[in-house]
C-alpha cells in the first residue's frame, strides 16, 4: 500500500518535470564531452570514454554484487549469517586486477599527455593575456592585437533583474566583440599569461585548458582540422565577472586568415611616432 502511493507520487512528479523540460526554449540536453575539432581533442575524448567504460563495467559488477547480497541474504528471507571473515585469494585477486587495469589506462593517457606538451614546430604563435574581465590577443609575428570583451547584448541581459530573457540573446554569455581568428590545419601555439589575477583559457572543442598566471607564461597548442566558430569560457575564478569573459575562436581557411591579418595589422611604431 505504502509502495503504491510512493510510486504514484514519483510518477506524478516525473510527468510534471518532463512537461516542464520539453519547453522549446531550453532544449539542450548535452550529456557528454564533445569530440572536438582537433587531433588532440579526439584523443582526449577517446581517453575519457575509455575510463568511463572501465568505470561502468566495474561499477556494474560491483553494484550487481551489492544488489544480489541485499536481495539474497536478507534476514527476513531466512538467510543465516556465515562466519567467514577472510579470503586471501579473493583479496589478492581484487587488488591485482584493478592494478593491472590502472596500468593499462595510464599508458595511453601518458602518450597523449606527451603529445599535448609538445609545442614545437608551431606555425603560428598568439599571446593570450587574461584580465579582469576580458581577454587580450596579440599575434606577435603579425602585428595584430586587440581586446576581446563580452558582447554588448549579453552584457545588458546579464545584469541583475535586467528583464531581458537570456533565451532571446544569441549565444548568451558566449559571444564577444572581437573573436580570435586562426587558420585551419595549422599548429597554433598559445602563450598564456595574465595581467592581474589567475584566469584560465578553456576551449572544450580543442581540449585546451591552461591557467593564465600573472608573471608567468604558459604554453598550449592546438591543430584545428575543421572550420567553424567555437566557444569557451574562463575556467579559473577571477572575481566578480568570472562568468562574463568568454572566448570565441573562428577557425577559417588559410586565405581568409591571411586576409584578416592584412586588414587588422597595425603599422609598427618607430621612435619618431
Amino acid at each position: 500500500m505504502q509502495m503504491n502511493r510512493k510510486v504514484g507520487a514519483c510518477a506524478a512528479a516525473l510527468s510534471v518535470l518532463t512537461a516542464f523540460f520539453s519547453s522549446p526554449a531550453w532544449s539542450d540536453w548535452q550529456m557528454n564531452m564533445p569530440r572536438g575539432v582537433t587531433t588532440i581533442s579526439r584523443e582526449v575524448y577517446g581517453l575519457h570514454m575509455m575510463v568511463l567504460w572501465v568505470c561502468v563495467v566495474i561499477g556494474i559488477g560491483v553494484f550487481l554484487a551489492m544488489i544480489v547480497a541485499i536481495v539474497r541474504f536478507r534476514k527476513d528471507a531466512g538467510a543465516q549469517a556465515a562466519k567467514f571473515s577472510h579470503n586471501t585469494m579473493a583479496e589478492v585477486v581484487w587488488t591485482s586486477i584493478p592494478a593491472i587495469i590502472l596500468i593499462a589506462m595510464a599508458v595511453p593517457a601518458a602518450e597523449t599527455l606527451v603529445k599535448m606538451e609538445d609545442t614545437t614546430e608551431s606555425e603560428l604563435t598568439i599571446k593570450v593575456t587574461g584580465y579582469q574581465w576580458l581577454w587580450h590577443y596579440d599575434y606577435i609575428d603579425d602585428n595584430v592585437s586587440f581586446f576581446s570583451v563580452l558582447d554588448r547584448k549579453s552584457n545588458e541581459a546579464r545584469r541583475l533583474r535586467s528583464g531581458i530573457d537570456p533565451a532571446t540573446v544569441e549565444n548568451y554569455l558566449l559571444e564577444v566583440d572581437n573573436p580570435l581568428v586562426v587558420p585551419v590545419d595549422t599548429k597554433v601555439r598559445l602563450l598564456i599569461t595574465s595581467g592581474d589575477v589567475l584566469h584560465a583559457w578553456w576551449m572544450p572543442e580543442f581540449a585546451v585548458k591552461k591557467d593564465a598566471v600573472p608573471g608567468y607564461i604558459n604554453e598550449a597548442w592546438f591543430h584545428a582540422t575543421e572550420e567553424g566558430t567555437f566557444r569557451g569560457q574562463c575556467a579559473e575564478l577571477c572575481g566578480r565577472d568570472h562568468a562574463y569573459m568568454p572566448i570565441v575562436v573562428n577557425v577559417v581557411s588559410r586565405e581568409a586568415f591571411d586576409e584578416w591579418v592584412a586588414e587588422n595589422a597595425r603599422p609598427t611604431m618607430t621612435q619618431a611616432d
Binding site: V44, A90, A109, L160, P166, R240
Partner: protein, 527 residues
Amino acid sequence: MSTTAIDVHAGHHPKGVLPWIMRWITTTNHKDIGTLYLTFALLMFFIGGAMAMVIRLELFQPGLQFVEPHFFNQMTTVHALIMIFGGIMPAFAGFANWLIPMMIGAPDMALPRLNNWSFWLLPFATTLLLMTFFLEGGASASGWTMYPPLSLQTGAALPFSIFAIHLLGLSSIMASINIIVTVLNMRAPGMALMKMPMFCWTWLITAYLMLLAMPVLAGAVTMLLTDQFFGTSFFTASGGGDPVMYQHIFWFFGHPEVYIIILPAFGIISQVIPTFSRKPLFGYASMVYATAAIAFLSLIVWAHHMFTVGMPLGGQLFFMLTTMIIAIPTGVKVFNWTATMWRGSLTFETPMLFAIAFLFLFTIGGFSGLMVAIVPADFQYHDSYFVVAHSHYVLVPGAVFGAFAGAYYWLPKWTGHMYDERLGKWHFWLSVIFVNLTFFPQHFLGLAGMPRRIPDYAVQFTNFNMMSSIGAIGFGLAQLIFVWVVIKAVRGGPKATDQVWEGAEGLEWTVPSPAPHHTFETPPVIK
C-alpha cells in the same frame, strides 16, 4: 559484563539555568563534548546549506535574478568553509569524542580540558567567519581555496577569515593530539591495536593526517596575510614570488584534508555494515592496511588539483600515477564491505540504509575521481561542474551519509531511546533521491562545458541546472526530518537496551543506554 558504570549524573549536575550553562561551558566529559560537537555541526550544516540554497536558487535559470555576482562568490566561498570546517569535521569529532573512549574501554579522553577548548574554539571561529559578511566588501569571495592574487583583493574580511581558519585549524590539531594520545595510551588491557574497532583505527590515522596537514594550511594563509599586510611577496611574481606556490602549499594540506573528511566515515561504515549483516567485518587487517595506504598516498597526490597550472610533464605524470594508485586500497575497502554483506543475514534499519547508499554512491564518486586523475581528460574536467559533481558525491552521499549512518546507529546509545524508524526511513529515501537529483546532472553540465563558480550560464545548460536546483531544495528540506528525529529521540521513545542492535558488537554496546555519564572508570578486561 565488566561495566562498572556508575551513574552519578543526577547528583552531578545541579538544577537552574546558570548551572546548566556553566555545565556545558566547562564540561570536560567526552560524552558532553561529543554532544556539543554534534549539535554545533548540525547547526552549521543548516547555515552552510542555506548558502547552498542561495547558490542553487540563482542557478535555477539563466540570467541573474536574485544576487549580484560578488555576493554569489561569497556564498560559494563561505558555503564550503562552513560545511568543511564547521560541519563535517566537527561532526566526526563529535563521533570520536562520544565513541573512542567507550570503544577502547577508557573512562574519558586523555586530555579532557584540552578537549573542552578544542570544541569551544569552534563557535568563536565560525562567528568570526560569518560576521565578515557585514564588513565592507563582504565576506571572502575567492573560493574556499583562496588562491592569490584574487584572494589579496579581498577587503576587510581577509584578516578575519584567516584568523578564523587559524582557530579552526588549532581546534583540529588539539583534537588530533587528544585522539592519538588516547588511542595509543588508554586502551583497556587486552585491547591490542589490531583488535580495536575500525572506527578507532580510521580516527587514529585521520588524526596523524591532521597533524601533518593543518599546520601547512596555517602556513599558506599566513603567507597570504603577510603578503597583504607586511610587504612580503610570496605569491607575487614582481616580488620574486609565484602564485602557483600557494596552490602547492594549499593542496599539500587540501588533499589530505579530503581524506581527513572521509576516513572517519569509512570507520563508521565499518561498524554499521557488520552489525546489520550479523557477520564480522571482512578482511579486518586489509582494511587497516588499506586505510594506512590511503593516508600515505594522500600525501603525494596534491598537484592533481593543479594539472592546468603549467606543470612540467614529469610532475603531471607522477601525480597522475600516484592518484590512480589510490583507487586500489579504496577499491579494497569497497570490496571488503560488500564481502561483509555477502552471505550475511541482512536487515535494513535506517543506519544500514545510509551505509548501503554510501557504498553505492561513494563508489560513483570514486569513479569520477578516477576519471579526473587521467590528466589529458582532466584538462576538460578541471574547474568545470564535473569536478563539482565528483567532490559532492564523495562529500554528501559519502561523508555526510556516513555521518547519518553513525547518528542513527548510536542515537539510541546516546539518548536511551529508539529513534522513530518510520521518520528515519522518510529522511533516508528523500535524501537519497534528492541528493542524486542534485548532483548527478552536474556531471553532464561539466562535460557539456559549464565552468564552476559562475552565477549565470549559457542557455544550453538550463535543463540540468533546473534539475539540480530542484534536487537541492528537496534535499535541504528533507534534512529537517533529521532534526525532528533527533529532537524526538532526545525527548523520548521506546527504551533502548544495552546492545540496541541484534548484531552489534563492541564495548559501547555493553553499557546501558543512555550511556552513563561516566563509563569504564575501571577498565574492562578484553579476552
